[in-house]
Each structure stands twice: as structure tokens, then as C-alpha cells.
């Protein structure tokens, strides 16, 4: 009886130790930034964080940017798909957008805007935001 009690206490103590010392508890200020796509009569925009899209409950959300360096030109593309399946894509040959992508991490929040009212157009604005509240 005593042995069993000791065993149980030991296990409980081990549990408390693990709880306190393994991976940090997820506290701190947290923002959820799922993929959203919107627009008005002159432009469209998309926003969302890479991690929130990847770990969303649905299997549709996706957001990302691509830097293409070819021998004759360079091209930046950003694209997003929201939970409803709506998509938006923008592209640009402006060198400054490629520089902006250099600031990306796996937890970045991406915001981009296009001058088109359709599902694709030229990029007019790309924002890469890195912040503690976006970390998983």
C-alpha cells in the first residue's frame, strides 16, 4: 500500500516537473491572423500569417510569396487562398519587392495589395510583419 502510494506520488511529481520544465507554456499576447481577402472598387488585398494558415482547421487556407531570379529578369509573386476558396495573386518585377521578401520568417504575417479588382494583378504593396504575437 505504502509502496503504491509512493509510486503514485512519484509519478505525480514527475508530471509536475514535466509540466513546469519541458516546452514553455503558451502564454503572452497572441494574435490569430487567418487568411482574409477583401477589396473595393479599385483594388483588392489579402492578409494572413503563414503559421495560422498552415495550422488552420480547414485545408484550404494558404498564403505565401515567391522570389524568382532568372537570367534576364526577377519577379516577385504573392498569393493567398482563404477558407472559402477565394484566391488572390499579385506579381511584380520591381526589385524593391524582392528585397521585402528577405524579411520573411515561418511566422510572418503577409499583407499584399493589387491594383486589380479581379483575382490577380500587379502588386502595389507588400508588407511582411514579424512579431512575437504571431509565434506559435
Amino acid at each position: 500500500m505504502k509502496t503504491n502510494l509512493k509510486k503514485a506520488l512519484g509519478l505525480a511529481a514527475l508530471s509536475v516537473t514535466l509540466l513546469a520544465n519541458t516546452i514553455p507554456t503558451w502564454a503572452g499576447f497572441v494574435t490569430t491572423s487567418l487568411v482574409s481577402i477583401g477589396g473595393n472598387q479599385v483594388s483588392r488585398w489579402a492578409s494572413g500569417s503563414m503559421e495560422d494558415a498552415r495550422y488552420s482547421a480547414d485545408s484550404r487556407q494558404q498564403i505565401g510569396c515567391r522570389a524568382q531570379i532568372l537570367s534576364t529578369y526577377s519577379w516577385t509573386t504573392c498569393y493567398a487562398t482563404d477558407s472559402a476558396g477565394r484566391t488572390l495573386l499579385c506579381g511584380s518585377g520591381d526589385w524593391k519587392f524582392l528585397e521585402t521578401l528577405r524579411g520573411m520568417t515561418d511566422s510572418s504575417q503577409i499583407y499584399f495589395e493589387t491594383n486589380s479588382t479581379g483575382s490577380s494583378g500587379a502588386c502595389t504593396n507588400i508588407v511582411i510583419a514579424n512579431s512575437s504575437d504571431l509565434l506559435k
Partner: protein, 138 residues
């Protein structure tokens, strides 16, 4: 009976401790792109996560940036991209083009890479794509 109860409580507490600290559940759109190198070794593609977490232990893909300011050889900067697939095929290329170096600086732990070697003799990169996409996250 008491012993069983104590054991049960202990095990439940242990389980709870482990469960509460685990990583977030993995849902959402995911693409695992393992390394592919064409038979001639001219192009390679794959994601860092696809290579790292592949079932075999041969795949790798990545890019490095170098800056050398030694008096005798520098200053020069270059990007170097390399890949190996599960069949043992490997390829690499390098470039001193500032645009390629900038693209490599934009890589994350989950980037998808595509590169083309202009010539298997000179090993100069002619194309490089770096894609950072939520679907490539582990």
C-alpha cells in the same frame, strides 16, 4: 484497489502534463515536396521540410551565402545552392549575382527551392526560385 487508483491518478497526471505541452495540432493545407533532381542534374527542387522529414536519410536541399574579404581573394560574395535526392543523385550551382544572394537571404526553415544549373561544367546558377508558403511549414 487503492493501489490501482493511485497508479491511475499518477498516469493520468503524467498524460495531462505531456498533452498540455504538445505542439499545436497540424491541420490546414500542407504540401510536402521532397527533393527531385532531373536525370541530367540541371534542375533541382524541393522544400527544406520535405527533405528534412522524408522517410529516407539521403535527401537534402539548401543554399548558402558567402562573403569573403580576405586580402588575397576578396572581397566577393556568392550564393551556393545544392541538393541530393533519395536515389543518391546530387547537384549544385553558385552565383555571384547580387540578386541570387538577396533571394537566398530571404529563405526560411521551410522554404521551397528550385534552381537551374546553366552548365554542368561551370556550375553557375541560371535560375533560382525561393518560395515561402504556409503549405510548406512542418
Amino acid at each position: 484497489m487503492n493501489a490501482k487508483l493511485h497508479k491511475l491518478i499518477g498516469t493520468a497526471a503524467l498524460g495531462l502534463a505531456l498533452f498540455s505541452n504538445s505542439l499545436p495540432a497540424r491541420a490546414g493545407l500542407a504540401t510536402r515536396n521532397e527533393v527531385y533532381i532531373d536525370p541530367s542534374g540541371t534542375t533541382a527542387q524541393g522544400s527544406l521540410t520535405g527533405a528534412r522529414y522524408s522517410a529516407d536519410n539521403g535527401q537534402y536541399i539548401g543554399c548558402d551565402v558567402y562573403f569573403d574579404r580576405r586580402p588575397n581573394s576578396g572581397p566577393w560574395a556568392s550564393a551556393y545552392c545544392f541538393a541530393g535526392d533519395k536515389t543518391g543523385r546530387s547537384t549544385y550551382c553558385s552565383s555571384t549575382d547580387a540578386r541570387f544572394i538577396d533571394a537566398v537571404k530571404g529563405m526560411t526553415d521551410s522554404s521551397h527551392l528550385y534552381f537551374r544549373v546553366s552548365s554542368t561544367f561551370t556550375r553557375v546558377c541560371s535560375d533560382l526560385e525561393v518560395t515561402n508558403d504556409s503549405a510548406y511549414l512542418k
